[in-house]
């Protein structure tokens, strides 16, 4: 039996490994994130009052639960390796002892759980509503597999629509109304707030606020079909002046430059693309796809999948189904001249 | 405890009333079927409370026929109970008569319910209310039909003289099921016909 016991030491070793894994979790997490990667890492980074209290909550929970884990692991290891007086293996221990273990263990656990529950509820109330009235309201509608964004305004002429890229001014709460055009999606900008489902027929909403300028990645988190993986977006938090500039630019219709090439491209677009896409200021008013009026102003295309370069645009238009299999945009069959005309036209959409 | 236990007493053999496995089995079956109806009615109340539609779309339901039908079903339960009592008292003829009456009343319920279905202006697919109405009453109808088949078998067995006052477990068990079908109807009735009057 002693032989077994020595082998069982491994058990303790593995437990220690766990313990270090948990403690290592935070630094590893940090190391990954500091390199500029892990754009969804909410555990170490948060930039607004809708997310920061939750981040602290997460830290306290992880720390406390890690301690609990370690205590229990030590108790278990102790229970296994505790020295025992040699006894006849046939004897059987008494049944009625050991109850204090349960009383004390459960009692202490219950107190900790009570405290944790209170802390969680307090945090929930803190993040449930912004302290000030939202300065900006937008409606985000989930589509398979992209996002339509409508900026609201009391004056209907000042409303505008864009896609896959949300701009917000820093330091103010923003109310986001959530809708779905087809199935359930979920809106999530982890560094700014938690997620909320977008359920057809239901008017959900949430709020978020960015206290630092920057670009925050968002992602759909409810399984919504084959391209659920590639249903991302970005939130660009700007200082109020830049935001105002951006808004003014977005409100304008597309500026129409006219050269032979561009006109050919425009005609092509109206023929082939306008059934789905809108370009304000042209006859293209399709409603099934992202608004392309200010396409070139966006950083990414195809719901966060590609950077918005000319090559990527061409590649996307001609090979959408290879890049994002199942996407609701067909791979367009275009000749080289058509491509260059279309590119010329699209490059005017800024 | 072993020594306190009486091990040498005579025990009934086989299927003896509420000691039989069947009685226990049907009891548990009823619990699960009861939950099924619970979830159905939950769905009804959930959708009714969430809907923006006019509810019920055709206005408040008429209570006359469904009310009458409820009474018929309850009466039928009473006669099943009476039939069992008669067996206990060795009044086999009365038992037979009572069971026949119960069966007839059950069939009346089905006929009236079928007529109720046929005069509705909506169907299962015309709107949300229709889907709920026909699914809930349809589920219940299915149970009534199973119950009627059971009653028919009991009737047959009583007629063939299979039971006496010591052994009639099948009647107890079958009756239990029939009472369940009736009690569930009360909930269905209250939900579909009475609750719209409350709001």
């Amino acid at each position: 039996m002693n032989d077994y016991r020595s082998r069982f030491r491994h058990f303790a070793a593995v437990e220690c490994a766990f313990f270090s894994m948990i403690l290592a979790a935070a630094p590893v997490n940090a190391a990954l994130a500091e390199n500029g990667v892990a754009p969804l890492n909410y555990f170490l980074h948060s930039y607004g009052p809708a997310a920061t209290p939750t981040m602290y909550l997460g830290w306290i929970f992880v720390a406390l639960l890690a301690v609990i884990f370690v205590i229990i692991a030590l108790l278990l290891t102790g229970a296994v390796f505790r020295k025992r007086s040699a006894e006849d293996p046939c004897t059987i221990g008494r049944e009625d002892e050991g109850m204090p273990w349960i009383y004390i263990g459960t009692g202490v656990s219950a107190c900790i759980l009570f405290a944790l529950a209170i802390y969680a509820l307090v945090t929930l109330n803190v993040i449930a509503k912004p302290t000030r009235a939202p300065a900006l309201t937008l409606t985000v509608t989930g589509y398979d597999w992209w996002w339509k964004i409508e900026y609201e305004d009391d004056d209907p002429t000042r409303r505008f629509v864009t896609a896959n890229e949300i701009h917000i001014p820093v330091g103010v709460p923003v109310l986001v109304k959530l809708k779905s055009a087809d199935v359930i999606h979920a809106f999530w900008v982890p560094m700014l707030a938690g997620k909320t489902q977008m359920i057809p027929g239901l008017n959900n909403q949430q709020w978020l606020q960015a206290d630092a300028e920057g670009i925050y990645r968002g992602q759909c988190t409810q399984y919504c079909g084959v391209q659920h993986a590639h249903m991302g977006f970005e939130v660009v938090a700007q200082n109020p002046a830049e935001f105002q500039k951006w808004q003014d630019a977005q409100r304008k219709s597309a500026a129409m430059v006219s050269t032979i090439d561009i006109n050919a491209g425009k005609k092509l677009f109206l023929d082939r693309c306008s059934g789905c896409h809108t370009i304000r200021g042209t006859e293209a008013v399709g409603a099934h796809a992202p608004d392309l009026t200010h396409l070139k102003s966006r950083r990414l295309i195809a719901a966060g999948l590609l950077t918005n370069t000319s090559e990527h645009l061409v590649k996307w238009i001609t090979h959408a189904q290879d890049i994002k299999p199942g996407a609701r945009m067909p791979s367009m069959m275009l000749t080289a001249t058509e491509i260059s005309a279309l590119s010329a036209f699209l490059s005017t959409l800024n | 405890m072993a020594e306190a236990m009486q091990l040498d007493q005579a025990l009934p053999v086989g299927s003896a009333g509420k000691r039989s496995g069947g009685w226990w089995g049907v009891l548990v079956l009823i619990v699960t079927e009861g939950s099924l109806f619970g979830y159905l009615l939950f769905s009804y109340f959930y959708l009714a409370s969430q809907t923006e539609q006019h509810w019920p779309p055709d206005g408040l339901p008429s209570l006359v026929m469904p009310g009458l039908n409820t009474l018929i079903l309850l009466a039928s339960s009473v006669f099943v109970w009476a039939s069992e009592r008669c067996i206990q008292r060795r009044q086999m003829r009365w038992s037979l008569a009572s069971m026949t009456l119960a069966l007839t009343l059950g069939i009346c319920f089905v006929v009236i319910q079928l007529r109720e279905w046929s005069i509705k202006t909506y169907t299962m697919t015309s709107n949300l209310y229709g889907s709920l109405y026909f699914t809930i009453t349809g589920f219940h109808m299915l149970h009534v039909i199973v119950g009627l088949i059971i009653l028919l078998m009991l009737l047959l067995w009583i007629a063939l003289g299979y039971f006496d006052e010591r052994r009639y477990a099948a009647v107890t068990i079958g009756g239990l099921y029939w009472h369940f079908v009736d009690v569930v109807w009360l909930f269905v009735f209250a939900t579909l016909f009475l609750s719209p009057y409350l709001y």
Partner: protein, 664 residues
């Protein structure tokens, strides 16, 4: 009283059971064997209603499903090992994770526990069979056919593809036009029948089929676990069956329950699904926790600490488990007040778990552990349960769950609890009861290897999933970009998964080797306390030659454990052999109440199961006439089932009986 005895007493209605003994080889024993053994060959194989045969079938079938689900998972892990892989198409990936979840949750985790309980219950309770042996057979056959049904469309590339919780409207006809979801919906209704029938059987068995003296406070914890799970199933299964049935109506008939355009509500699905789903996750662990509570003490050489507390905590967990379903819907936009309530309730549910955890630790602490393979699995289980439970507490904190929901953190949680509390005890349980099942011991060296490889592989594979979740990796994505910071964690997870699979493989090899060459097992090789170890390994068809009288919780340790009270009597007891007979006892005190006539073997369950599965197939394929035909065939099988039962109506031929006797 006198007139009873004078003329021929009506033995078919009432008798005093004979007390005696029936040692192996005695005339009585041979007669019992004749009565209870199934016919040899395929006839017996198809018609048997022996709970031991059915239990083993459940175990083997469910384990095969574990392997299938596991292979699906390994394929997923290959795809996810590195970013931007193109091994699988998105559609293939969605069918893989859905079938993986469906297989593991529905076709593996509960059926495997039903297997244990089916095999062990009558042996632990001192009974000759379950309350309804034929229903038991039916429950197995329907399970098997429902499993085949759910898998039938997989090779065609039309398997369920909306995740195991199958949210509408994605699962509705508009967005999912193929047969995929219909297969899932019908398959689940069919499987629901099997589970319900099985649960009814367990509940009635517990209340009626215990040996005299096996009062409710003496039954093993596994029995408590399965009883609790079965009662929960009785209440919860209708919810999911109804949900899937309504979905099927929506898809095939055109009703509007979930149809947004016509006022239907997608949230109704979420409610119905999780009102079932949460109780279910406890249903698939409580019996497994029972396995540990019963088997761990054997290796600690002492009884479980706090038997009553653990039994009560089992029930408390389940009771609370019905009140927390909203914690799967924290992100659905429900009112904050509701979230607070359900979040707090989800934390409270940890308290009964704490009771169990401390009871196990105390049992080890106060005992003198013997480090056999099963012990390693059970001790390992405790630590995995704690990790899985603690991550559950994190998701129960509502604001935190707004972040964790639908990320790999939840995937990590569910694997720690499902593998930690289900797979580890199950594998440990197989090591423990293998000698009882097959009369041979399993190999210890391979056993230790399998444990360590599984344990290390599991933690290597699944612990990093927590990190992936904290790094924001959503679940159900078929691939990811290299710049998300998820490359390392995913690679480690994939490697760990394969190491874990290797551990399972070692376990399988061990089974195959031990079946052939394992050392022969005595009836009680581990010196365990409970009744199943009182019979031969493997047990005879009739289980107990005489129905034992039980006087304590640990009948086989009585001599060494001074529990007070009398001594159990295992050699002397009721000799019931007028046909297949068993004793029915009162629900709480287990006093003898009735002599039950047990049914003979029958093909009816097999055919009823087969025809009902075919009827469902007809529904799926819209073969109207075929469906009707199969429904008729079902009725015929039912009649065949009931036919010989005419005896149960028990008409009294000529009335010679005691008027004073209480009638039944």
């Amino acid at each position: 009283m006198t007139d009873v005895v004078q003329s021929s007493p009506d033995l078919s209605l009432r008798r005093v059971p004979e007390i005696g003994s029936a040692p192996i080889g005695s005339a009585a024993e041979i007669r019992l064997a004749q009565l209870w053994e199934s016919a040899p060959g395929w006839r017996g194989w198809l018609s048997t209603v022996d709970h031991k045969a059915i239990g083993l079938r459940y175990l083997v079938t469910a384990f095969i499903f574990l392997l299938m689900g596991g292979i699906e998972a390994l394929i997923m892990r290959l795809q996810l090992a590195r970013p931007d892989q193109v091994l699988l198409t998105p559609e293939q990936y969605s069918q893989l994770f859905t079938m993986h979840g469906v297989t593991m949750i529905f076709l593996y985790s509960l059926p495997i526990l039903s297997g244990f309980s089916n095999y062990l219950w009558p042996l632990m309770l001192g009974s000759r069979d379950m309350a309804f042996p034929r229903l038991n057979a039916l429950s197995y056959w329907i399970f098997l056919f429902a499993g085949i049904f759910l898998y039938a469309s997989f090779p065609l590339g039309e398997a369920p593809n909306a995740g195991w919780f199958n949210y509408v409207p994605f699962a509705g006809l508009e967005y999912n036009t193929g047969p995929n979801i219909d297969v899932y919906a019908l398959g689940m209704v069919l499987l629901g029948i099997s589970t319900t029938v099985g649960s009814v059987n367990f509940v009635v068995t517990l209340f009626r089929m215990r040996a005299p003296g096996m009062s409710i406070n003496r039954v093993p914890i596994l029995v408590w676990g399965t009883l609790t799970a079965s009662v929960a199933n009785i209440f919860a299964i209708p919810s999911v069956s109804l949900a899937f049935f309504l979905l099927w109506l929506d898809r095939q008939i055109g009703t509007h329950f979930f149809d947004v355009v016509n006022g239907g509500k997608p949230l109704l699905w979420q409610h119905l699904f999780w009102m079932f789903g949460h109780p279910w996750v406890y249903a698939v662990v409580l019996p497994a926790m029972g396995i540990v509570s019963d088997a761990l003490p054997t290796f600690c050489r002492r009884p479980l600490v706090g038997y009553s507390a653990v039994a009560l905590s089992t029930m408390a967990t389940m009771l609370l488990g019905f009140g927390v379903w909203i914690h799967h819907m924290f992100a659905a936009g429900l009112p904050t007040l509701a979230l607070s309530f359900f979040g707090a309730a989800s934390m409270v549910i940890s308290i009964p778990s704490a009771v169990a955890v401390f009871a196990w630790i105390a049992t080890i602490w106060l005992g003198r552990p013997v480090f056999n393979t099963p012990f390693l699995f059970f001790a390992g289980f405790v630590i995995l349960f704690v990790i899985g439970g603690l991550s559950g507490v994190m998701t129960a904190a509502v604001p935190l769950d707004f972040q964790l929901n639908e990320t790999y953190f939840v995937v990590a949680h569910l694997h720690y609890v499902l593998l930690g509390i289900n797979v580890f005890p199950v594998v440990g349980g197989i090591y423990y009861w293998f000698p009882k099942f097959f009369g041979r011991m399993m190999n210890e060296t391979l056993g230790k290897w399998s444990f360590w490889v599984m344990f290390i592989g599991f933690n290597l594979g699944f612990f990093p999933m927590h990190l992936a979740g904290l790094l924001g990796m959503p679940r159900r994505i078929y691939t990811y970009a290299p710049n998300m910071g998820w490359n390392a964690v995913n690679m480690v997870t994939s490697v760990g998964s394969f190491i874990f699979a290797a551990g399972i493989l070692i376990f399988l090899v061990n089974i195959l080797i031990s079946l052939k060459r394992g050392a022969l097992a005595t009836p009680n090789p581990w010196d365990a306390p409970t009744l199943e170890w009182a019979v031969a390994s493997p047990p005879p068809a009739y289980n107990f030659a005489v129905i034992p009288f039980v006087a304590s919780r640990h009948p086989l340790w009585e001599g060494r454990l001074d529990e007070g009270g009398g001594r159990s009597s295992l050699e002397q007891g009721y000799l019931l052999m007028e046909g297949r007979e068993a004793i029915g006892t009162t629900p709480l005190d287990a006093e003898p109440d009735i002599i039950l006539k047990m049914p003979d073997d029958s093909y009816a369950p097999f055919f009823l199961g087969l025809f009902s599965a075919l009827a469902f197939a007809g529904l799926l394929l819209h073969w109207r006439d075929f469906t009707v035909l199969m429904a008729v065939a079902c009725s015929l099988s039912l009649m065949a089932w009931m036919w010989p039962r005419k005896a149960l109506v028990q008409r009294v031929a000529d009335s010679k009986y005691n008027k004073g006797a209480a009638h039944g």
